[in-house]
């Protein structure tokens, strides 16, 4: 039996989702026969970890501070083994601009994009470059904050007149935003789980929005608002290609343990594009990674056991 600290909650906008993820993980860890130290991450995190001195930490945090390398750095300093990707991979994944640049440099298809900081607009007159950007990307354009993991702050601009308000909205979440070509098509997620140190893709989940033309923050976590199909009904070749791309991104960004790569399958061209990679995908009842694992015959407890295995054996 080991003593496992489950880190959940925190102060990010995804706190509620993290509390759900963490709660499920705690139950599983307990059922696996370990002692659970439940930590709602706050100002006393380091003090709690020092006094509890757990054998390992299961990081069930989402969003800022939890998924961007901050908590991971603290755990490194304290010498506590933790689940999921390391500091540098987390930093790369939490910043869509960094990860998209890395993908583009490697020749991995990702929708064309331009990224700017707020100061570029405030101090360098970047607004004057918008027409050129719009010309390159064509409408509709997706405007998103660089660092927000969920769908919060993502807007569609259908005309040039929509761009300023979309940028203002995206800057509500981050000092850096990106304008990205909108890929119309099917929304696919490839979850990856390490098996004996080797990353394995799980069955692909397709998110099919039930009502809106875009699945929003709420419906992502609400039962019945978005239908998830797993395994997604795809040609074998597409499944294979999507899984390969996901593995490539996973390796490129230096991920470990588990992760999720989101892709679009373009309707008109059948081309695959990687949107982003997530360091700590949701672990709630409706989250995609647990669904994918389930489809592969790995129940939630087994999933948690697998994720913990590599850490506890360190």
């Amino acid at each position: 039996m080991s003593r496992v600290a489950v880190l959940k909650g925190g102060r990010s906008l995804e706190r509620q989702v993290s509390l759900k993820s963490g709660g499920r993980v705690e139950d599983a860890v307990e059922r696996l026969g370990h002692e659970v130290i439940s930590i709602d991450v706050g100002a006393d995190l380091v003090a709690r970890l020092s006094s509890e001195a757990p054998d390992a930490a299961f990081v069930a945090l989402h969003g800022r501070d939890g998924e961007d390398g901050t908590v991971q750095e603290l755990l490194e300093v304290m010498g506590i083994p933790y689940t999921g990707s390391g500091v540098s991979a987390c930093i790369r994944m939490a910043d869509k601009v960094l990860s998209k640049h890395a993908m583009r440099d490697r020749g991995i298809p990702t929708p064309d994009f331009f990224a700017f900081s707020e100061t570029a607009f405030r101090e360098l007159g970047a607004a004057q470059a918008l027409p050129a950007i719009e010309e390159r990307l064509k409408f509709p354009i997706v405007v998103k904050p660089a660092g927000q993991g969920s769908a919060l702050g993502i807007k569609f601009a259908r005309t040039a007149a929509d761009i300023p308000a979309a940028l203002v909205a995206a800057f509500s979440y981050d000092r850096k935003v990106l304008l990205e070509r909108h890929v119309t098509g099917r929304d696919l997620a490839v979850s990856i789980l390490d098996e004996g140190g080797v990353p394995r893709p799980l069955p692909i989940v397709e998110a099919v929005p039930q009502q809106e033309d875009f699945y929003d923050f709420e419906s992502r976590y609400e039962i019945g608002r978005t239908r998830f199909v797993c395994p997604a009904s795809l040609d074998d070749a597409v499944t294979e290609r999507a899984s390969e791309l996901a593995l490539e991104v996973y390796a490129l960004l230096g991920c470990s343990g588990f992760g999720r790569v989101d892709l679009m399958l373009e309707r008109d061209t059948d081309a695959l594009y990687v949107l982003e990679a997530n360091a700590i995908p949701g672990l709630t009842e409706t989250s995609l990674l647990p669904q994918a694992a389930d489809a592969a015959g790995i129940g939630f407890d087994a999933l948690v056991a697998r994720i913990l295995e590599t850490v506890l054996s360190r």
Partner: protein, 474 residues
């Protein structure tokens, strides 16, 4: 730790199974807007102007203790027992006294005691609404009513307000349009006094017009009046019920704002056949409202003049409202507009159309301050650039600081927008609904609606300071 001591939580497969069991109405049941984000507003380090909480901190603990002792000594067995569905007669006499203070004489037998005013909204829907039936509400409407209307699968049509409350000309147009299209209107929902969230009060003329229209067309009106006694300036206006004599008006009120929301006691007075059905509805919902609470409130009314406590609340809230209005004038940019409530708990503020208050809330939370984004008060996607601000639940210093912080983030966004549009001002829309339709809204009936004009009418008449065009921003 004992392995397996907790029951296993549901697996993905289980969830799929439950999903197929959920009733159709859960598909349209709105979670209170951005529930997850709103949960963050409850953090201790956040100044929350988002709640709708009355201040219960000034109720003397010794009075509470002595009232509970009285309940224990005089009616212990009764307080611990079930009560009649319609409520204790003793409590209904107290209610009659409160209604009399608002100019209504009522026979206590014509009252139904409910579990908060919220239950009245639920029971009225339960009694009147079949899926697809129309409810006409104000735009904006009470955010807490929206999930109830949606749960009963009502088709909610919202009528614009201005500083005199619901616009009767628009109501008439709406009614005619409903007639023409054969849609079945069941009732008109209104908060005439110190509207939540708009903060406006319906004028006497509009009140007369509304009850006349209801009588002429034989329509029911649900008059929700939780704040009527909390007036900080001006003269009280007659309730719709007193103007109509109770023929077509269903009246709802509550002890929540004049005593305590914790007692969960409200009431309704309705035309007898409607009241009877509502009583049956209540029976199936909860048999009766809390007997302990009813005994407590009755003891409270017996113990002395209840008006005095309400007067003390009025003093506190008036000061807080004034502090909020002063702070808004000081800290909000001139592009923003807001209402000047004569009573109640809320101010409604409208930002320029390009600011989305859902996103603004995320930014405001970083500064540890919160409000309710305006979309919560609409079913049709409007309200995207508005916010509801509560001034009853936090102290004066927190109100000042909270408004200062919100003002700062609004300014930040206004400046950024100006920077972004400065380069090509000619292409920018000057007013109108949020042009970014990331989330297309649908009405409860399912058809897609054009994004409607922002609630300019409401904002137009209640601006402080006056809106001026910025030089150079077009």
């Amino acid at each position: 730790m004992n392995p397996g001591s907790r029951p296993p939580r549901s697996t993905v497969r289980d969830i799929e199974r439950y999903a197929s069991l959920f009733a159709e109405r859960t598909q349209v049941m709105k979670s209170s807007a951005m529930r997850d984000l709103m949960a963050l507003t409850e953090r201790e380090d956040v100044i929350s102007l988002a709640g709708g909480l009355p201040d219960t901190s000034t109720f003397p603990p010794e009075s509470y203790a002595s009232l509970m002792r009285t309940v224990a000594a005089e009616c212990c067995a009764r307080a611990l027992q079930y009560g009649p569905t319609e409520g204790f007669s003793r409590l209904k006499r107290c209610i009659a006294e409160v209604m009399s203070a608002e100019g209504m004489e009522i026979d206590p037998d014509d009252l139904l005691v409910t579990t908060g005013g919220q239950q009245v909204i639920d029971l009225v829907c339960k009694t009147l609404i079949d899926p697809g039936d129309v409810i006409v509400a104000e735009a904006p409407t009470y955010p807490g009513a929206v999930p109830t209307f949606c749960a009963y699968q009502a088709d909610v049509v919202q009528v614009t307000m201005d500083r005199d409350g619901m616009r009767i000309d628009q109501l008439l147009e709406t009614l005619d349009e409903l007639d023409r299209t054969g849609r079945r209107l069941k009732f008109i929902y209104t908060v005439p006094n110190f509207h939540n969230p708009a903060g406006v009060t319906m004028s006497l003329q509009r009140r007369r017009d509304l009850v006349r229209i209801a009588a002429e067309r034989e329509l029911l009106v649900l008059e929700d009046n939780p704040y009527g006694l909390l007036r900080y300036e001006g003269t009280a206006l007659p309730t719709l019920r007193s103007l109509d004599g109770g023929e077509f008006v269903i009246y709802a009120s509550t002890f929540s704002k004049i005593l305590s929301p914790g007692v969960r006691l409200g009431w309704t007075a309705a035309p007898p056949p409607v009241l009877q059905k509502m009583s049956i509805g209540k029976q199936s919902a909860d048999l009766c409202s809390s007997s302990v609470s009813q005994c407590f409130v009755a003891a409270y009314f017996d113990s002395g003049p209840w008006h005095e406590y309400v007067r003390s609340l009025i003093e506190i809230y008036r000061r807080r409202r004034d502090v909020m209005l002063d702070s808004l004038a000081e800290h909000f940019p001139r592009e923003a507009e807001w209402t000047h409530p004569e009573g109640g708990l809320f101010i409604w503020a409208t930002m320029p159309a390009y600011i989305d208050t859902n996103d603004l809330l995320a930014r405001a939370l970083e500064e540890h301050v919160a409000f309710v984004p305006g979309r919560a008060a609409f079913v049709d996607g409007r309200g995207g650039s508005a916010m509801r601000l509560n001034f009853s639940g936090v102290g004066e210093d927190d109100i000042r600081e909270g408004i200062r912080r919100i003002g700062e983030v609004v300014r930040e966004q206004v400046d950024l927008y100006d920077t972004l549009t400065g380069a090509r001002a000619a292409a920018m829309p000057q007013t109108g609904a949020d042009p970014v339709t990331a989330h297309r809204q649908r009405s409860a009936g399912g058809e897609e609606r054009e994004p409607l004009q922002e609630d300019a009418e409401l904002a137009k008449v209640l601006r402080l300071p006056a809106k001026r065009k910025r030089a150079g921003s077009g």
